[in-house]
Symmetry: C2
Subunit: 352 residues, 2 copies
């Protein structure tokens, strides 16, 4: 089937662009001497996770146990969940997962550490726990190197846990601050005689940037596999490097300058950055998607020389691609305009 024959809205992924994006990122990490541990939240597909590993990734990153379960079922053997996992139902699932794969998680509090410690008690197969550090991102994380050291000691005090290193989700474009935070922490750990075997750093926006976090041993970018309008705005490649588009149909042309697409916030997500508009229409680069309702994309065609007709199909590059993957049950992989595969988004909607 040709891409343009798909019913809409539909996600179409260009296989060649994905392959180029994966190889470029792996080469980039290799050149920096960093390990690559891709975040699968962007694609949620075991098939692409396996390809990332084949190309050199040391393991994958999942944000939720449910995502990790899907990936483990698909044979992925090394998974990092950079999240404070709390509460009995989740800890029990975590324990079952730990039985069958190489698993690591994070903590930023004694409460989280003690929860792991009470659940994981086998010193012969300890759970690896990294400490999340707030290096300026203002989300989770210990606030100081001293707090990190204290928490590492607490981890070590539990027989079923082992201290696995440091982890951070850094603020964008503040690489030097992140690096000095981590280097200060590493000095303190060294002074305490505690080995830090891993320093795991997100994320896509700064992955291809001009500067890098020197202290990092592994990187966790996610978005690079597809790229999107936001990444292009950040200076990472061009719109031609965007592998995922949402195929949509023009369902209405109520005025000379207005078109309505059958894709809205339920399929394109509502991220408004970068402006203007809610995505880039490949066939009509001067069109602006001015507003999204749930099932309608409202398009301003006033700057377009040629204008689409009702029934025409167009491809939209989303603003933020990760949130789009979570809205579709299936994606279509295409090559040279031909649909070669339809894949269920196996790790979609895993909220816990």
């Amino acid at each position: 089937m040709r891409v343009e024959d798909l019913d809409t809205p539909a996600i179409v992924i260009d296989r060649k662009i994905v392959e180029e994006n994966l190889k470029r990122a792996q080469a980039h990490a290799d050149r920096q001497g960093k390990k690559l541990r891709p975040h699968i939240k962007t694609h949620k597909l075991p098939q692409f996770a396996r390809r990332q590993l084949e190309l050199g990734a040391i393991g994958i990153t999942c944000q939720k146990i449910g995502e990790a379960e899907v990936m483990a079922d698909a044979g992925i053997g090394d998974i990092f969940i950079p999240y404070n996992i709390i509460g009995k139902p989740k800890l029990e699932r975590l324990k079952a997962l730990h039985e069958r794969i190489t698993l690591s998680v994070t903590a930023d509090s004694a409460t989280t550490v003690d929860g792991y410690g009470a659940t994981f008690t086998d010193a012969g197969r300890p759970l690896t726990v990294l400490i999340e550090c707030d290096t300026g991102g203002g989300r989770c994380g210990v606030q100081s190197a001293a707090d990190a050291v204290a928490l590492a000691k607490r981890i070590a005090s539990h027989p079923g846990l082992r201290f696995g290193g440091l982890m951070t989700y850094p603020p964008r474009q503040k690489v030097s601050g992140v690096d000095s935070w981590l280097h200060d922490a590493l000095k303190l750990f060294e002074a305490e005689g505690i080995r830090v075997e891993r320093v795991s750093v997100g994320n896509s926006p700064d992955f291809f940037g001009p500067t890098r976090v020197d202290a990092a041993t592994e990187l966790r970018p996610g978005t690079y596999i597809y790229s999107d309008r936001m990444q292009v705005t950040y200076g990472h490649g061009t719109l031609e490097n965007c592998a995922l588009t949402v195929l949509a149909t023009v369902v209405s042309r109520p005025t000379a300058d207005r078109a309505i697409l059958d894709t809205g916030s339920k399929s394109l997500a509502a991220d408004l950055s970068p402006s203007p508009g809610h995505g880039h229409i490949v066939e009509y680069p001067d069109a602006v998607i001015t507003m999204l309702n749930e099932e309608h994309g409202i398009v301003d065609l006033s700057r377009c020389a040629m204008k689409p007709a009702i029934g025409d199909k167009v491809r939209v590059i989303p603003n933020h691609v990760c949130v789009v993957s979570n809205l579709f049950d299936v994606v279509h992989v295409a090559e040279d305009g031909q649909v070669i595969e339809q894949l269920p988004v196996a790790a979609r909607g895993k909220l816990s």
Copy 2:
């Protein structure tokens, strides 16, 4: 199971509040002499659609064929799809649906009408087509009463179609403009000798408002079943009338004034209106959810006298509830704090 024992994030729906909201809306429509045709996009649950019909609704509204198929499978017999349905795959599904229920759809162009006309050819069982009118909403719709009349004639020219009336998705708080648009159109239809049997008008924001669209014969509100922070801002009830909350766990307390919840844009959706914040935390009304990442809700506690601890569960009333229902595979119905039912969100993720 008690609500607080649910794993998080989870949708919890208070059955009694739903019942009150449904009854209040039906009584309100009855008092106005309008028929109620609730939009099911808000709940996506056959169980609640059936309850809406039991209480007096004349049928339901679905935005997508996939939603209508789910509702027809559940025994709902009268469904309106207020959308231009275009393209062979959708038209074939529409035809199959038309065989088994009372179905009506809309069109705002000759292209859409002719697509219906080519698909539906049985004069003994014609498809009912309403004309969508742009009464100021700036989305789909014919631009003038004359265009509406011309399109009605085109509908009538197809043996397998019948003209079913007018439909509009009105701009908020511009009831008088909508009403005069529709009254002008009705006059023109009368002058042409064309009967307009239905005038179908959305939507929730103006449903309970002080003024009403006099020309309307049926109303299509959706959000009223759960209500949300946006509806409360519009003056429709209070936070106590909000039936749906997202139960979340505090997973981190990195600073004295910051908490992190395990609900982000992947479960709460990213609608920022009304400000401030991305939802209302029932237990901490002075807290502000300042930012959502996909799996993190960042909360400013600086104005809170009491502050939550790691592991505490809280309930969040979303800003816009319809988009939240689409992010969960199941919802939990509760009464007096006890979970009485877990329901699959049967019409979730139906994009076409």
